[in-house]
Amino acid sequence: MLRVLKAGFFSTIQDNGRFGLLNKGVPVAGVMDSFSATRLNKLLENETNAAVMEITMTGPTIEFLKPTFFCAGGADILMTLNNNPIQHFKVYQVQKGDILSYGKLVKGFRNYLAVKGGFQVPAILDSRSYFYPITEQSQLKDGVEIEIDVCENYSPKLTALQIGSFLAESKLEVSKGPEFQLLSDRQLERLFSKKFTIAKEYNRMAYQLEEMIEQHKYNMLTSATLPGTIQLTPSGKLIILMKDGQTTGGYPRILQLSDKAISILAQKKYKDEVSFKLV
């Protein structure tokens, strides 16, 4: 067990999400920045689908109630273990009563906390990922206790990873979406020549961009959408669907983010800038 003394702004449990229910309208869900989460699970030699805690903007305070090993990474947030600063992407051993605290956000937006064996919240429709109302909670609450495995003896093959400048990246690799051919030369010019700013409306469902491109009058029948799909609304607004995004939509799907680009975008917040690169 561990106890979430304070949950922070928006903390959830996420694995790689749900499979096989897109045709019933169930979003994938799962970690937003899989680049970071995957590396943490690798470091702890967890299963690739082990559930981690996704921490948004301001992090939690956690009391370990069992001995285990953990590591954290993603957004650059100051962290302490029993009041001593700790590093990201580095494995730490903890005992019952140890306290992990998150402090100030320095860069990025989402941090991941992984424990040896993963967080053992119940799997609903084959996934531990929080997504209300498929899971009863939409986010972790103060005081909640989460089951974890006891682990006292473990020698990690690697105790730390160097991740490099991932958080500084702002170029999003995209491929053509199904309605790419609708784009005019002027729209294409704008899309690929200048930067875009993250608008106020951004969450696990979608990121909206502040700058608009030329409007359009194209009408299409509702069709499938995916995490990373960039939709163009009739008024010229760009909406990038993310992991909790709806599974169908009626706006042209002009571009599709690469897996890496979804992770890069997941670390962006209001007023951050991104640009697109067609591959």
């Binding site: 979003p27 509702t222 069709s223 709806q246 169908t248 690469s258």
Partner: protein, 245 residues
């Protein structure tokens, strides 16, 4: 069953989109389901591939690996020609109980008056028609139903409500449908369906599939409350009937 001209396009590295002509037609939806069944049964590994049918499209998704688009497109064209056109894929007919009591149908009278018909006539027209599920999306278990009579077409509300109840039955332009969970929404609410459209605790959380037929039937307030209780304790079972057109 004709062979439709298909448009096959890439949709990022993990998905491919197959499009039929841009029309809302039963015969198109049926061909999509026929092809998707053939792909599931004979061509693609369903442990890895997800398929999303909707209106005039079928999207195939391979989450874990990149798709070789050119190769897959060629194989899809070949597989399409090989599909069994002799019989239609199985679809089901669902009768869903709806309580049109004014407590639930908060826009019922306003809608009837705008459409220039009586409330009784509105309920009759809404419930005597059989609808086709052209897609499921927007929310888990939300059905895009086609086949609304023209006499019931009414624009969505000018200001959407911040909260529409789970189970609310609504009307908006050419569509009717059920909110599977509480959500903001701009549809005109005319009743409440006593059967949950999505149950995450069930092994098959959404009993309806794209291509199925749906008909509403009016029930009294007392019957509605009974169905709700039966649903909560898990004894209420919908009748599953094969649809033979």
């Amino acid at each position: 069953m004709p062979n439709f001209p298909l448009s096959i396009r890439s949709f990022g590295v993990h998905a491919i989109l197959i499009e039929w002509p841009n029309e809302v037609k039963e015969v198109i939806l049926e061909d999509i389901l026929r092809f998707s069944k053939h792909l599931k049964t004979n061509c693609l590994n369903v442990e890895k591939w997800e398929m999303v049918p909707a209106y005039n499209s079928l999207t195939l998704i391979l989450r874990e690996e990149p798709i070789d688009f050119v190769k897959l497109k060629q194989r899809l064209e070949k597989w399409y020609a090989e599909r069994d056109t002799s019989k239609a894929p199985t679809k089901y007919y669902w009768r869903l109980p709806v309580c049109y009591d004014s407590e639930f149908g908060i826009d019922l009278e306003e809608v009837a008056s705008k459409l220039g018909i009586t409330v009784e006539d509105l309920i009759k027209k809404h419930s005597e028609n059989v609808y086709t599920v052209f897609g499921i999306g927007f929310l888990p278990g939300f059905m895009y139903l086609g086949g609304l009579p023209e006499a019931l077409e009414i624009p969505r509300k000018k200001t959407p409500r911040l909260k529409v109840a789970k189970g609310a039955v609504g009307l908006a332009s050419k569509q009717t449908g059920i909110y599977p969970q509480e959500s903001p929404g701009g549809w005109n609410i005319i009743g409440h369906c006593a059967v949950p459209m999505f149950n995450p605790k069930s092994e098959n959380p959404c009993f309806v599939s794209v291509g199925d037929k749906v008909q509403f039937y009016p029930i009294s307030r007392a019957e509605h409350d009974l169905h709700i209780i039966e649903g909560e304790v898990g004894i209420y079972k919908l009748e599953k009937k094969e649809w033979n057109a």
